[in-house]
Symmetry: C2
Subunit: 192 residues, 2 copies
DNA sequence: AACGGTACCGGACTATTCCTCCGGCTGGCA
DNA sequence: TGCCAGCCGGAGGAATAGTCCGGTACCGTT
């Protein structure tokens, strides 16, 4: 990549980060390019879709999350490790007003090639942590890892506009953890 | 309301229902008015905001949900009643590609005056069912009714674009119910 | 250091959608 | 039948997404 192209790339990501914080997911792309001091054509060259730009902004954060998860894979208490990592994932999903949640969710949907390898790694780590917790006997429910990660993203979405968002998110995640710990009860479902 | 005004109102709601099913929440309003055979000014006269139109579409369905809940308040098994009603609420939240979930969620956020009395009734019924299940001893967690309803909406949002959406939603709701039934464990949370 | 080609940049332009405004007309009532 | 409040229509301004191509700057080679 040429030196000028790299400069513009970095300026765009930086301004996108700011704009997403300020306006949320739907920040006008033209505004971002304007602030970065480049034309909109340049923005679309580097980031054909909005999602591409979003992922560039989140890349670093996701890498941290993956590293944290890998470290926790050797932690003493498998259940606490899972809980800790899910909380970190929730914090991640809450950044930029639920932006990360939207990406996480769309990445989990189809085997979307556009949804970068970062999310694949994240899913892998989450699945490993969940499997380990299950083997240790702390998690009884036969939950699908994708379900659990989706729930985390869903919680982030649900509280994104609430005034006391993070408090509420915390309670909801506790509810989810409870569901994981409890033995699976299929009888709780009505037979319609 | 004048006869012509009423006719147009009804045509708009009908076409909005179709358009929301087809395009999702973001269906172009101009397209709706075009299909209804009225001008866009007329649409905006009846429904100043998109939310107003959405609520008009959902009104009947919400009323049914409230009635179902009221009936279930006298059911034998309080826990099963709650479970049954939450499943109905989930089905409601899934309609029109997660549109209902978005409305439900925003209605629960702040004491939003714009969010109609419909949703207030829904919240009331849900809270009553939850309280009754708790008194019966079946629900141990001290969950906030708003949290529970938000989770239902969140699940609907999370699966809205997934191919096997309703299956996944089902599993996730079971997870939630498990969390409600389990005794509350504050120890599942790491002390950071 | 000069040069040529590669590929990047700019920004005007089209398309889409939201929403407003106001002249003209129509339905309901006396 | 006649009046008029209030409704209707549709043009149009504003914001945003995304495209296109002429001009230009960078990089590698000589």
């Amino acid at each position: 990549m040429r030196a000028d192209a790299r400069r513009n790339y970095e300026k765009l990501v930086e301004q996108a980060r700011i704009a997403f914080t300020e306006f949320g997911v739907d920040a006008p792309l033209d505004e971002i390019s304007r602030r970065a001091g480049v034309a909109s054509g340049t923005l679309y060259r580097h980031f054909p879709t909005r999602l591409d730009l979003i992922e560039a902004v989140l890349a670093g954060q996701i890498a941290e999350l993956v590293n944290l998860g890998r470290g926790l894979l050797t932690a003493e208490d498998a259940s606490a490790a899972l809980s800790r990592w899910l909380r970190a994932a929730l914090a991640h999903a809450l950044t930029y007003r639920g932006l990360a949640a939207a990406v996480m969710n769309s990445a989990l949907d189809q085997d979307n090639d556009r949804a970068s390898t970062w999310h694949a790694q994240m899913f892998e780590v989450g699945a490993a942590l969940l499997a380990r917790a299950r083997r240790s006997g702390a998690v009884g429910a036969d939950a699908d890892p994708a379900d659990v990660l989706k729930m985390v993203g869903a919680i982030a979405w649900a509280v994104q506009d609430a005034p006391d968002g993070s408090t509420q998110a915390d309670r909801m995640l506790t509810l989810l953890m409870n569901g994981l710990h409890a033995p699976h009860r299929s009888d709780s479902r009505p037979e319609e």
